[in-house]
Symmetry: C2
Subunit: 382 residues, 2 copies
């Protein structure tokens, strides 16, 4: 039979899905979720001003968005005190990560990340034929020293670091990030994924410095800004590097609604502060729920909390004596999902001893509290 | 100075922009346009039901869209009488073209298209390191026989054909497309870009046949459906080929508003028929305006009309005697733009003897008529 050609890199790739969405889980279960606390969205929503702008934008859906993202990039640049030539907007950080790999990595070249860090980054490296080199987390944080050492020893093209970190919620003081940057060898690009910067302590985040061409900072409107469905992320860095994106990006990839919504959301910093305060309260509430159930919440600088389920072993008694921490956490996850509350968990040991719960309003966290209690009760009595 | 790495392909690429948007032109001119007739958008807009759904979706912007596009792909599949496994949705046809090149083309391999056909396809081929081989148009149509011969002789991985064609508005009877498909050699993928299928004569479009793994059909909600700003396109074809997109696409690339808007637009075929009737009327009106001004409209199966300006030479008198047809068309284009009506023109000879005007309501076409008359008057008196 006559066939079509498939490039070597794509042919050899497995079909993999970075994150199965709650909609797909609902379809598998044949039942929808009552609370959606697994995708680190902001259930508190975006600024009402952004919502109003996006409503009105529906009437203009016949028009392509400005392919230069001019107004949005100009506003972002002003917000960070850099030039518009230092900013590139894209279809979420995800889309920009794919383009960055395409720009900086030759097929076969090494790319260093943490084992258990953002799977979508790994997905893009694989899709481009890069060679992933993974460094274990250390004490639930990305191990900056080991990452840098490994990047040097394998002569990596790109080093991926997230601060704060997903899936653990951990973070580094900005002085540690500064030390990492000071130690970068030549010809290495640092991807600093700061999707959760808006919910982090102020001293975790370095001021943006576009004079260092080796550091590209990634931000998003999907987390604290509450616009995950609008798909707007951006990268900030050296103008010549940012210019490279023009060679490879989908110039007409941005939706008009998202462009306008992000612009309005950025302008409403007062609302962002309110949302971050709500996220902070929800973090404390999730931590309290975990402790009430004999589990250990990890400190978080993000809009979610990782909950260590390893300590559930004692509470659960003999049934769990032979199970790994990961298996116990998986059993708890399944029990919570079965009660129609969508949460997720890390997949790589030792992070996989945790479940991960996104911040949300009290009504949603009440549902989580009930589901968690029920899941643990089931495990005790099984 | 320490530098970042840049892949060879990207380093050697020029910075190029497939299409400068009307917003960028407005910024250059320091003045906005009164009519927007250059981007082949549908000024008649989308179905009111789609607008209503997108308005409501603003409240849910905090949620990621379903990364599997399940409901939309299922609806598209039902519409075409194929399986959901034969459909992949993406950020416009543009985004899907980039992914198709990534899937099918090794860097250095030949890709055949028509000289003057869709520049964004060429952009993606360049960005992937493919080798573009261009075949001239013949009588203002893509030269199917010559394209096939060239694809065979250079052992191309991919052949790009659009039917109907942008920028000329021309089309082939479906029997000619069937003949092309029957002649495809092994290991060649045909990209059949049917962005304008909804405005084409019925006998221009072959029924979709997913049993042929060498043909991938591309459709969009950006044209007759009136949802350019929502960024929703799709490809239909062999299930195994469609599955390849899962390996390389940005799984969370689709906006929630666009997903829902496209679903509602697809369900409202009655509105689509109304919009197509409006587009047909506007095509006739544009043709009449061209003839009234001594210019020659080309037949069109799309939502725009290419107007041959070569025949303006006689009318314009001695000033134009030494100018090329392309230069005359450019002078007319500039005159229309200067009167605040946004239109475009093809860039490659001999297509460049035309200006290209998108369909729109009478008020917009009145503005175009006035601007064209003024532009021609200026040229006569210059």
């Amino acid at each position: 039979m006559s066939r079509y050609p498939v490039s070597r890199i794509v042919r050899d790739l497995p079909v993999s899905v970075p994150f199965v969405g709650p909609e797909a889980l609902s379809r598998q279960r044949g039942r929808s979720f009552k609370a959606r606390l697994g995708a680190n969205e902001s259930i508190f929503g975006p600024s009402p001003r952004a919502v109003a702008v996006m409503r009105d934008a529906a009437d203009e859906a016949w028009m392509y968005a400005d392919p230069e993202n001019f107004e949005l990039e100009t506003a972002i640049a002003a917000f960070h005190g850099v030039g518009a030539e230092n900013v590139v907007v894209g279809e979420g950080i995800d889309g920009l990560l794919g383009l960055t790999v395409k720009i900086a990595v030759e097929p076969g070249q090494a790319v260093v990340t943490s084992d258990g860090a953002y799977p979508t980054f790994n997905f893009h490296v694989d899709a481009h034929g890069g060679r992933l080199v993974k460094v274990p987390f250390r004490d639930d944080r990305e191990d900056l020293g080991a990452l840098l050492d490994r990047a040097k020893s394998v002569r990596a093209a790109v080093l991926y670091v997230s601060n704060p970190n997903n899936p653990m919620g951990s973070w580094w003081h900005r002085d540690e990030i500064a030390r990492l940057i000071a130690g970068l060898p030549g010809n290495l690009l640092l991807i600093l994924d700061e999707a959760y910067s808006d919910t982090a302590p102020a001293d975790a985040i370095l001021p943006i410095d576009v004079s260092n061409p080796q550091v590209l900072r990634f931000r998003t409107f999907s987390k604290a800004y509450g616009l995950a469905g609008a798909r707007v992320g951006y990268a900030v860095g050296d103008a010549a590097l940012v210019q490279m994106f023009e060679k490879v990006r989908n110039h007409y990839g941005m939706g008009r609604t998202g462009q306008l919504g992000a612009l309005a959301a950025l302008a409403d910093q007062e609302y962002l502060r309110t949302a971050v305060a709500q996220i902070n309260r929800a973090r404390e509430r999730i931590a309290a729920i975990a402790r009430d159930n004999g589990l250990m919440p990890l400190p978080s600088a993000t809009n979610f909390v990782a909950i260590d389920c390893g300590c559930a072993r004692l509470a659960l008694g003999k049934q769990s004596a032979t199970q790994s921490d990961g298996a116990i956490a998986k059993a708890i996850l399944d029990g919570v999902l079965a009660r129609d509350v969508f949460i997720r968990k890390p997949g790589v040991a030792p992070l996989d001893r945790c479940i991960r719960v996104s911040c949300g309003p009290d009504a949603d966290l009440d549902l989580f509290a009930g589901a968690l209690r029920g899941a643990l009760d089931d495990l005790r009595s099984s």
